[in-house]
Symmetry: C2
Subunit: 292 residues, 2 copies
Amino acid sequence: MNQAIVFGEIPGIQEGHHFNNRREMMIGGFHRNWAAGIDGNGKEGTAAIVLSGGYEDDVDKGDIIIYTGAGGNDPNTKKQVEDQNWDNRGNAGLRVSMDKGLSVRVIRGHQHKSDYSPSTGYTYAGLFSVIDAWEEIGKSGFRICRFKLVYSGSNEARSTTESIELDYSDREKRRKAGTVVRVIRDTQLAQDIKKLYNYECQVCGTYIKTKSGRYAEGAHIRPLGKPHNGDDNPNNLLCLCPNHHVMFDRGTFAVQDDFSLIGEENGVLIIHDGHQIEESNLQYHRKSHGYQ
Amino acid sequence: MNQAIVFGEIPGIQEGHHFNNRREMMIGGFHRNWAAGIDGNGKEGTAAIVLSGGYEDDVDKGDIIIYTGAGGNDPNTKKQVEDQNWDNRGNAGLRVSMDKGLSVRVIRGHQHKSDYSPSTGYTYAGLFSVIDAWEEIGKSGFRICRFKLVYSGSNEARSTTESIELDYSDREKRRKAGTVVRVIRDTQLAQDIKKLYNYECQVCGTYIKTKSGRYAEGAHIRPLGKPHNGDDNPNNLLCLCPNHHVMFDRGTFAVQDDFSLIGEENGVLIIHDGHQIEESNLQYHRKSHGYQ
């Protein structure tokens, strides 16, 4: 694994791409690891995982996957024989990918038992986001590290929102109720800006500690997507804590051209050397929320 | 409108339900307003909207809708003749629905120009979440209040995640890149818990101010949905600020049975009289994140 880790889509490999064997997957850094299921580490994150029937506790619902981390299973019997732990580089990497909003390439092997597995070789299932990480006692009585992944690629027909069935006995039976869906999948540039600020919020200077490091959110000043059509460019990005991200998106405060804060925040935006913010983006945000 | 406002699904009315006229929609409080497009107010939120061709700036992509708020248009010519404003109860209500995570029933009328409109009468399009609110100068030169709504009902085939096309000229052209999707749709009980705490975080006591009031997030202690299968019950809910919600979900801190905080937070959880928290849920959360 001398090759650098690569996150996101690999040019030339589309969803559904078939690999005859693990070696073919190593080309282009798609999955650099010949034997292990997880290609990643606790510093940069995890870029790709293979579901290959190695873990008895895996669950595969197509666009929602419950994945068991690495370690502690007997390679011959595939049975769990000892506890898994979070120091394992693959497990740590999946947690980092969750915190940093990095997407993970998911590959299904023929040995993996699911309706979505290929009969031979391996199939690329697309980009997923890690939305939950926890530990529990597995079927065999040992501690396992677990992850919930949801599809977050660009195929809109496959996009996943979770609905949860709740039993309201006093109303209609089994009605579905709302839930909080928080799929954070950052652009590469948003990740770069967060790194530049060492995950410290440009408004309050604080950062969110997690078990795998620091957490912050990349906020586009002029929003991406229709109808705003903001650019994915460092000059349109801020590094914010979740609280200030909510407030900024709702116009609770705004930023003047001299970077002083107006609205419900005082003070001045913290700006690192080398981070140029485009005035027209700040103006667009102010106008959108009725400032000036 | 003596009838109380009702949010969410109305028993007996499914997605695709056809109404012959506006009067039929008033039954059961589905849309209580005979003439106005928006059924809502700045205190409780907006429960339903009708798209009926009244605004030249509306955009309808099916499961993603850009909706123009109420006010300032001439009822005869349908042209905008003056500025809209945020004091309008319908506009204020949509902003409240966004902040509180309330879903909005969306109805399309035959006068509304889109591929999804019925040829006669009105059709119920399902539950949507307001994910953005801003103001801009409309086609006619007057200020309009605008909202972005995405489908968030229980039909999984229709679930919406946004993908945004970005032009990476140095890589493949027009590749789609990730984005932050934060669709907050609370259960009724989560809304009740947030109200009980007046939107103050049970860890730090702070609240997020927005233009339409206060903002907090309802956090399930033992997560809803598979594989955790937590209950949607007040004894499994906390009112948290977004920062502490992220930290709690990631196990940065946990809560002991005596409500003292462990991990990266000190002190004791703030608990209101009348809020019973189930110990087994706290235990489940602690175990999930390796405490004790």
